[in-house]
Each structure stands twice: as C-alpha cells, then as structure tokens.
C-alpha cells in the first residue's frame, strides 16, 4: 500500500500532519502479531491521536475504541494520526522502549519525522518518497481538492464529497469542523487528519464560488 505516501500540500499545511502505524510482515512475524499491535494501540492512545483506526475494522470516528482494539488481528494495520511533532517523538520513544516487535512506520514531512526519530533515539531504516502524478493528469480534481482527498490513501474520500461539504459550508449548513468530520468518516483505515482538513477547508471556502 502507499496509503500514507501521497498526501498533497505545501510545507506549511503539511507541517503537523503525522501518521504513525504498524503492521506485521507476512510469512515472517505475522503469527501472534495481533497481540503486539494491540500493545501498539495502547501506547498511541495515551497520546490522544486526532484519529486512529485499523484496516480490518474501521476508524475511530465510526467505530468505538473497544471495537477497534478487540478486533485487531494478525493481518491488521493499525494507525494513529497526530499533529504535534513533540508528541510523535514521545510516541516513538515509548514504542522503542516497549519493543512491540512489529514494524513501525511514521509518515510526515521528512525533515520533521527525522527530528522526531532523533529525539526518540531512532535511525530511519527505509524511506519512501512520492514522485508525483503522471498520465492523464487533466482528469484529476483541482489541487486544493486533492490536498483534502489525498489524506485518504485508498481514495475513499471522494472529491465529490469535498464539493458537497464546501457547498454546505457556504450555505451555512455546516461548520468547517463538522465538514472535516464528514470527510474523515469514509477513510476506513483511520489515517485521515480532521484537524488538517478543518484548516484546509477554512482556507478554501472563501475562494469557492457556488455555481448554481
């Protein structure tokens, strides 16, 4: 999966957008990894993530904490979203100390995640970058929409839904916060960042003109 790789934005609005997650390696340490990933969730929840979830069960805006935790299994991929690099550093410190045993991945601005790792006494092992979009790029939604939709790496947050919530905000039917929550819900894994979405919507709404 590349589900947290292609989060679009500029340095300013990507700052403070972190995903910390874990999964097992199939055929290597998969057996019994469910219990380890439960330990991971216990640790990250101490730091009050803005969203969390599991690819098996769903995200914390749709499912309860207990449901997500109790249904973690060996094929789970468990995620938590944070906005504060100091918190991410502490999360990584605790994960290192706990020796959970499953792979831990952190997504965010590379210079920020590098600082978080150093503060936690960790060295990055493997790194991934996005090389951007190719092909029929004219078929893509506008960049501002993609800043909002690309936070769900499985493309479950439709650009059509962004259009809908923008209309509702313009008409006074929803606040930016409520709209951000609505955008968060379809992202099954729980990697969508409602705090960042709210900021992006606040910036975008004055620029949008309703064409009716």
């Amino acid at each position: 999966m590349t589900h947290t790789l292609h989060r679009r934005g500029d340095r300013e609005n990507l700052s403070g957008d972190f995903v910390v997650f874990t999964m097992s390696a199939k055929g290597f340490n998969e057996k019994g990894s469910g219990a380890k990933m439960k330990k991971f969730l216990e640790i990250v929840l101490k730091y009050d993530p803005v969203t969390f979830g599991d690819g098996i069960t769903g995200n914390s805006k749709v499912k309860s904490r207990e449901e997500i935790y109790n249904n973690i299994e060996d094929v789970s991929v468990v995620h938590a979203v944070f906005t504060d690099p100091a918190v991410v550093a502490n999360v990584l410190k605790d994960l290192k100390k706990a020796e959970v045993g499953t792979s831990i991945i952190v997504s965010g601005l590379h210079e920020e995640t590098e600082k978080c790792c150093r503060a936690a006494g960790l060295k990055k092992h493997t790194i991934e970058h996005s090389m951007g979009y190719f092909g029929q790029v004219k078929r893509l939604p506008d960049h501002e929409f993609m800043e909002l939709t690309s936070m769900c790496g499985h493309a479950m947050v439709p650009a059509n839904l962004v259009e809908k919530v923008l209309r509702e905000i313009k008409r006074g039917k929803k606040s930016c916060r409520e709209a951000a929550l609505e955008l968060t819900k379809p992202c099954h894994c729980g990697v969508y960042n409602p705090a960042r979405a709210e900021k992006l919507l606040k910036r975008l709404v004055p620029l949008m003109v309703l064409d009716e």
């Binding site: 590349t2 097992s24 055929g27 965010g108 790194i127 991934e128 996005s130 078929r139 893509l140 499985h154």
Partner: protein, 247 residues
Amino acid sequence: MKIDPSKCIGCGKCKSYCAMWGGIMRFERDPKRPQRVICAINEDECVECGVCLSSGCCPTDALYQPELEWPRILRKNFSDPKKVHPETRIPGRGTEEMKTNEVTGRFPRGKFGMAFELGRPGVGTRFRDVEKVAMAVAGLGLSFEENNPVTKLMIDRKTGRINPEVLDEKVLSAIVEFLIPEEMLPRVLDALDRVAQQVDTVFVGDIISRVARDGSVPYIDVIRGRNRFLSINGKSNVGLGRPLANV
C-alpha cells in the same frame, strides 16, 4: 454496485459518495413509470469500492452490492480497502512494500524499490493500462514483487502480460511494484515518461531506498538533479520490527 429502481427516489445523494471524480451515477426516467426520476449506476465504470454503500447516504436503502463473480470480483478485491486481499492477506491495496523492510529485507542497499499506482485518486484504471505499465517495466528486464496482487495476475512475468480475462475490469487503483539496481534509475524514469503518454488514466510514482550508512538517501540527488518532482513528505520505516533482516 446497483440501485434498486423500486426503492430509489432520485435524490442523487449517492453521487457525492462516489469515489470516481464526477460520479458514475446518472439520473434517468424509471422505464416502468416514466414520470419518476431515479438514479442508475454506470456498471462499466463502477469499481465496486463500496464507498457509497458504506456511507449510509441513501435514505431508502436502494443501494446494494450483489454477489460478485469472476472476473468482476477483482474490482472489489482491488478497490475496497475493507477486503483483505486473498493472495497477500493484507487489507487495502494488498502490498507491504517498504513498511516491513527491516524484517523482510525486500529492499537491500544498492537497489531501489519502485511502484506505479494506477488509477488513484478518483480516476480508476482498467487492467489494460496496468498491463502497459507492467510491460514497460518488464521491457527493461526488471522483476516484479512476488507478493503483490497485480503480479499474481500476470500470465507471463517476463513480458508483464496480464490475464486477458481481466483486461477490461476497472478498479480504483492497482500497483505495479518492482526492484531496480540503483544505476538503472535514469532508464526507468525515461520509460516512465514514455508509458505515461500511452495510458488512459493517471498514476503516481513511488520510490523506496534503504537509508545509506551515512544517513543519506541515494535517489534524492538523482531525481532532483533531473529537475523532477520529489515530495517533501513521505514514509519512514524506523527499524523496530523483529527479527531484523540482514540488509
């Protein structure tokens, strides 16, 4: 996905939850009662991702997903992240890639992992286009990641040819994943540019490297030196998985 015309009231709410940009629902007249306007799904364009159904947006529960058979079931396998991929046992797009590299050793020093993810976001892709990208990669003599659901659809991994039964199937996204020796990166980038002109979809490019002993990432200078886009954000495996592979 289908809409039960007897239940549909033609409100169009489902269109906002369609993962395809612009939506693949259309308004039409109920053929049995032409004074009624209902919604219908363009089945050929539907990728069976289930976002509309999962949203609960339909006020009359008119949306339903029938039992899917081969090859249409492929659409759901690739498009619905709630589905654990049957071959790889991973939910979502079904590939671990760099996330577990400290354990699997998939990407050793001296090599880069690369992936082209077709169809995302919101455009979708047919396997016909996935095959074009796979053949462009195979043409360079590169090998595909074994534990990847697209690789498992290939009938000939030396050429990148995909099972012809599925070429017309449309999915939300599909990833072609492969490994390259570091020195081949410029040739791969050239091939990427050529195949980008031939596909009727979009794709994103990913590149992965084991961090060098001095902390550097070997592909950064190569890509930026060619004035190509490389993201300022991305993913980092922090090396805590066990047991450690010798890479």
